[in-house]
């Protein structure tokens, strides 16, 4: 049941766009990247179940042509979870804006300090150490 | 008691919606629907609407007919403008007096007005009783004004309100 080309292309594009956005500096873009990745992942879950078919409702269609209900249930859970975390990250973005005046994802200061730091006076063995 | 009565239309509406949703009627559903409607109304006691309304069935039907006709003709008109004029189309914002001072009626008129293609209410001055109506390729503003007033009158009639003088 190889995934059809249209869906594959769509997934590729959604994932690419999501990955691209998530690597941006603006937290809002990152967030949209996550949302889009979530869409891509949910779509993938759905198509992972197989090709389209009758909705899985007893009494509405033929059992043999029904779609796989399990990926749908999982996708539903995933949708909810993605939504929950999106709202949380939004709140974080807002807080960041309140505190910092922007919603940029900044570099870590301590990391930069390590990069630029001099050596540690206390531990560096000096000439006097052996005297 | 009157408060209960005043809530009746909303209550009935909710039960109706309930039944429409289920798409079938049996006693169990009705009872459940009543319970749900009562529950919803009790949980969120918004003040009742529809004070002093006496709908007139015939006028109401005529309004509906008028609306359907208007909807179709103006849809065709807008469609024509889409095909014929396209980018060249122009609009106008025209002030029209509001005939009623009842929130409900003003809203109904504005709503029905906006439903039809070609025109919509952009802004509403409730105190000054003016509709600012946007019209597509209006030609003569006076005709637009007349149309709007005409519609308002039909609405007032359908809901049994007395026509008030335009300001």
């Amino acid at each position: 049941m190889t995934i059809n080309l249209t869906m594959a292309v769509l997934m590729a594009c959604l994932y690419s766009a999501g990955f691209y956005l998530i690597m941006q500096r603006s937290l809002m873009r990152v967030l949209l990247g996550i949302v889009i990745l979530g869409h891509g992942a949910n779509l993938f879950l759905q198509v992972a179940g197989g090709p389209p078919g009758d909705p899985a409702f007893i009494g509405f269609g033929v059992l043999t042509s029904m779609v796989d209900p399990l990926p749908q249930a999982m996708a539903l859970t995933a949708i909810v979870i993605t939504f929950a975390l999106t709202t949380f990250l939004l709140a974080l973005a807002y807080r960041s804006w309140v505190l910092l005046g922007d919603d940029e994802v900044r570099d870590d200061l301590e990391d930069r300090r390590v990069r630029d730091s001099e050596e540690d006076a206390d531990l560096a063995p000096e000439e006097e150490a052996s005297r | 008691m009157t408060a209960m009565l005043r809530r009746l239309p909303m209550f009935l509406w909710l039960v109706l919606v309930w039944l429409l949703l289920w798409g079938s009627v049996d006693i169990g559903l009705v009872v459940l629907g009543v319970l749900v409607a009562v529950g919803v109304l009790a949980l969120y006691p918004v003040r009742p609407v529809c004070s002093g309304l006496r709908p007139r069935p015939i006028a109401l039907l005529r309004l509906a007919g008028y609306l359907v006709a208007d909807l179709v003709t103006s849809a065709v008109k807008v469609g024509w403008q889409v095909l014929r004029h396209g980018r060249a189309v122009r609009g106008a914002v025209i002030a029209v007096p509001v005939l009623s001072d009842v929130d409900w009626l003003v809203a109904a008129a504005a709503n029905l007005l906006s439903l039809g293609p070609g025109k919509s209410v952009v802004q509403l001055d409730r105190k000054g009783r003016v509709f600012y109506v946007y019209a597509l390729n209006p030609g003569d503003p006076a005709r637009v004004r007349d149309d709007v007033l005409h519609l308002q009158r039909r609405v007032l009639r359908a809901f049994g309100a007395s026509e008030e003088d335009p300001l």
Partner: protein, 113 residues
């Protein structure tokens, strides 16, 4: 017979939608696009719903009535909100209007907007 009617309704509705969408593309400013978008769409949807209702058992058809009702209630409200916001925020588009009574009123009372 019912099939023919329903087919006609559906096709008309769909056509109406196309026309509306075309207007959405072709019309020059927001307010005019608004006319093209909400109105033929609403009509189109109503027609399609009617056509569909004819094809369905009553159990479901009544549900479509609800859809239509909601559409009728909400579409104009949205259109007014739209219009107001579009008018308030689109200064250059206001200038393109043939007549602008609202603009005059606002000009009379500076500071109003």
């Amino acid at each position: 017979m019912i099939d023919v009617l329903s087919a006609a309704l559906m096709l008309l509705g769909a056509l109406s939608c196309v026309v509306g969408a075309l207007g959405l593309v072709r019309f020059p400013d927001l307010l005019s696009r608004l006319q093209a978008a909400t109105k033929p769409q609403t009509l189109g949807l109503l027609l399609i719903l009617a056509g569909v209702a004819l094809q369905l058992p009553a159990k479901y058809a009544v549900g479509l009535v609800l859809v239509a009702l909601f559409q009728v209630i909400t579409a104009p409200v949205l259109s007014q909100l739209f219009g107001r916001a579009a008018y308030a925020t689109g200064a250059d588009e206001r200038d393109a209007l043939e007549t602008d009574d609202l603009g005059e009123r606002l000009a009379d009372r500076p500071g109003a907007s």
